[in-house]
Every structure is written in structure tokens, then in C-alpha cells.
Amino acid sequence: MKFRRDTTTLFLDPASKEQLIYDTSKKVNIILSPSLYWVKKMSLPVTNVREVKKLLPSIFEDSLPVGHYSYTAYKHGEDFMLFAYEDKKILDLLVQHGISSVNTTSIHFAQSEFIEIPSAFCINEKQCMYLKGELLVLAPSEWISEKEKLNLDTVTLSKHTIKLQQFGHIVDNGSLYKIGALLSTLALILIGEIFITSVKKDTITLAQDELFTKYKLQSTMFQNRSSLNKYSKIHNRQTKFRESISYFLALKLKTNQKISLVAYKSNLLSVTISGVNTSSKNAIINQLNAKGIKSTTSLTNDKLKVEVKI
């Protein structure tokens, strides 16, 4: 259930010396004094307000003192009512009167709220406002003979409100939107990149699982490394064993020298060559050394036993 608090309407005028008194538990509607905005009534060759708003800075360009202005407009009969105002000036005045922006429900121009007033209303000690044609203007109190005190109780607020740009004087909206858009785009790109990376990661994980299935690997890499180590050792030994055998078979032996025994067990290759004497022993060993085979030899009678660790 949503509770709606009552609202109080206040008239904000920079020239008034009276402090605005209101019930702080209530929300406030603010009506801006004509001295807080600039107004023009114009007939423009455009149909909607949005198009008019684009033209406002150039329409007011030559008539405003230096400052940071916001603009708004609304349609009034066949014409448009055009406004320029300084957000910071209004905000400062609100703060000066102890009105927080949180408590402010709406902000209106006096122009849009007093479109039909029978006589002039005094808004402060020195000024009154009255309708000149359809524009609400200020005049010194002395000039006005028939005047009344401003009574806000009878005012029915229109739908023409403005929203003050609290930080408009620091960064203009355009830049703010650009920076916001840039940061948002960057965030979106990063989110996209995270998504792509996540998909890639999942694909790799899936491929890893498929790899295990395809090559019938064991469940842990430790087991697989152990198996690889085991079979690599076998392969290396078998390769070295065959190489060593081929070197022995390729030995240049004398006609009386013969290989009489080839034995391989427990990774030890033993080759016995008969008909070898001390002098020819060195020739055989030299041949083996030239092939890079590290061996141990023993010569018993005329038999040379060469042992190679595989």
C-alpha cells in the first residue's frame, strides 16, 4: 500500500526577504518567481515541443546574460511559451530556504500557474507581478495601484513542470551521456568478452574430456604420466638394444674372429667374440667407442666378452 503525503505550495522569489515557512513533514511544490527565469512567447514553424527545444539555445542566445542555462517549452494555443533558467541559481535559493531537493515534488514557472489573474500580486516588499498580454511580468509596487497579496491556496498547479539539473553546471548533459554511454559500451564489451572467454574455456574443458575418452586415458594425469614413463623406458631400451645389436653385427672382424654368443637379460647385453688377442681387442673396442657405445670388456683365453648396459 502506497501512502501519499500532502503537499505544500511555495513561491520562490530571490528578492523576498521573508524566510519560507513550511511543514517539513510535507512535500513541497515550488512556483518560481518571474525573476528566476526568462520567458518568450513565440509562434514557430514547427509542430511539436521536441523540435522547439532544439531551437531554444539559439532563440535565447542574444538575450541572456552569461550563465549556464537550461531550456524548456510548452505549447500555448497556437504559440509556444519558451523558458530559460539557471538550475544552480534556483537550487542555491532552495538550499538557502532549507528546502531539500528530496522533499520537492515539482517545480513550476509562475508564468504557467498564473495565466488568469484579475489584478497584480505583490510577491515581495518591492515588486508585484501582473499579466501583460499573456506574459507575467514584474513591476515595482509603487507603479501598481490595485494590488493583492499573493495567495497560493487558490492556485491549482498545472502539468508544466521542470526538473532541475543538479550537476548541469559541472558537466553538461551531453558530455555526461557520452561518458555514460562510453563506459556502458565498455562494460558491455567486457561482458561480451567474458562470455566468449567462458564459452572458449568450456569448449577446452569438453575437448579435454573427449581426449580422455578418445585415447582411453586413465582418470588422472598422474597415472597417465606414469604409464607414459613406463612405455617410454621400454621404447628407449628396445631402440638402444637394437642399435647396439646392429653395431655388433657391423663390426669389422678378422677372418678367425666370430661372434659366438649374444645374450641379453636384465638390461645387460653381453656379446662374446672368439679368436681375439690383446692387440686385436683394442681394434674392436675402438670400433665400438667410435659408435658411442660405452662397454666393459674382459678377455679370457681368446674370448672377448663385451658388456653393454642398455
Partner: protein, 135 residues
């Protein structure tokens, strides 16, 4: 009138971007680790698979040995073949050197895990043989 400070939105966006960058960086690191692991696993798998194919495929090794033993040059050789669960033992007290050459030529040029071998020359044409091949 309640407006959010654009600096707060900016700070929120910057914080969000910082968080996203951190997340992305962590994910990229994880992905690279996964990729490295995959590449390592693939290399290991290929090596292991090819080595197992040669040295651990019991059926394939058995079939290949049977083919070698059934060749015509070995039919006359009195080879004693003992087939065990994880090995085969081939021996002969006296084998013709030609048959021995044919047998050893096939065995040594094939990819067999020879764990034991003993060839002893008996005469110019005869030798004894003892060999064990495992899988």
C-alpha cells in the same frame, strides 16, 4: 527532483568495469591454464597411445608373432614356443642359421619388447636360441 549524482553513476560504472576487467583477467588466465593443460594432455595422449599400440596391445603383438612363426622358412625349424599370459618364450636347442636370421630379422625389425635373448653359436650352420617377448 530526486536525482542521482552523476559522479556516483560514473563511479559505479568505473567500479563495474574494474570488476569486469578483473573477472575477465581471471577467466583468461584460467582459460590459458586449461589450454596449456589440454595441449600437454594431447601430446601425452598421442605419445602414450602410440607406445601402447606398439608395446601393450596384447592381441596385436600375439598375432604379429604368430605370423612371423608361421613363415615358411621357420616351419622346418624345431622351435619351442611357450605362450604365457603376458609373454611368449621362443627357444630352440639347435636352429639353422638361415632360419635364425629370418626369425631375428623379423623380430628385431618389428616393435617387440624383447626382455631376454640368448643366441649361442654351435657350429658354422647351427645355433641355439632362447628369447622372451613381453607385452
Amino acid at each position: 527532483m530526486n536525482q542521482i549524482n552523476p559522479l556516483h553513476i560514473g563511479a559505479l560504472l568505473v567500479a563495474l568495469i574494474a570488476f569486469l576487467l578483473f573477472t575477465l583477467s581471471s577467466m583468461k588466465t584460467e582459460m590459458l591454464e586449461e589450454k596449456t593443460l589440454y595441449e600437454t594432455s594431447e601430446k601425452l595422449a598421442l605419445k602414450l597411445s602410440s607406445l601402447k599400440d606398439v608395446y601393450a596391445d596384447k592381441k596385436k603383438t600375439k598375432r604379429a608373432i604368430e605370423r612371423v612363426l608361421s613363415q615358411s622358412s621357420l616351419k622346418t625349424a624345431a622351435l619351442d614356443v611357450k605362450r604365457e599370459k603376458s609373454s611368449v618364450r621362443i627357444s630352440s636347442k639347435s636352429i639353422d642359421t638361415k632360419a635364425l636370421n629370418a626369425l631375428m630379422g623379423k623380430i628385431l625389425n618389428g616393435s617387440y619388447n624383447i626382455t631376454e635373448l640368448k643366441i649361442k653359436k654351435l657350429s658354422e650352420t647351427k645355433a641355439s636360441l632362447k628369447m622372451e617377448i613381453k607385452w
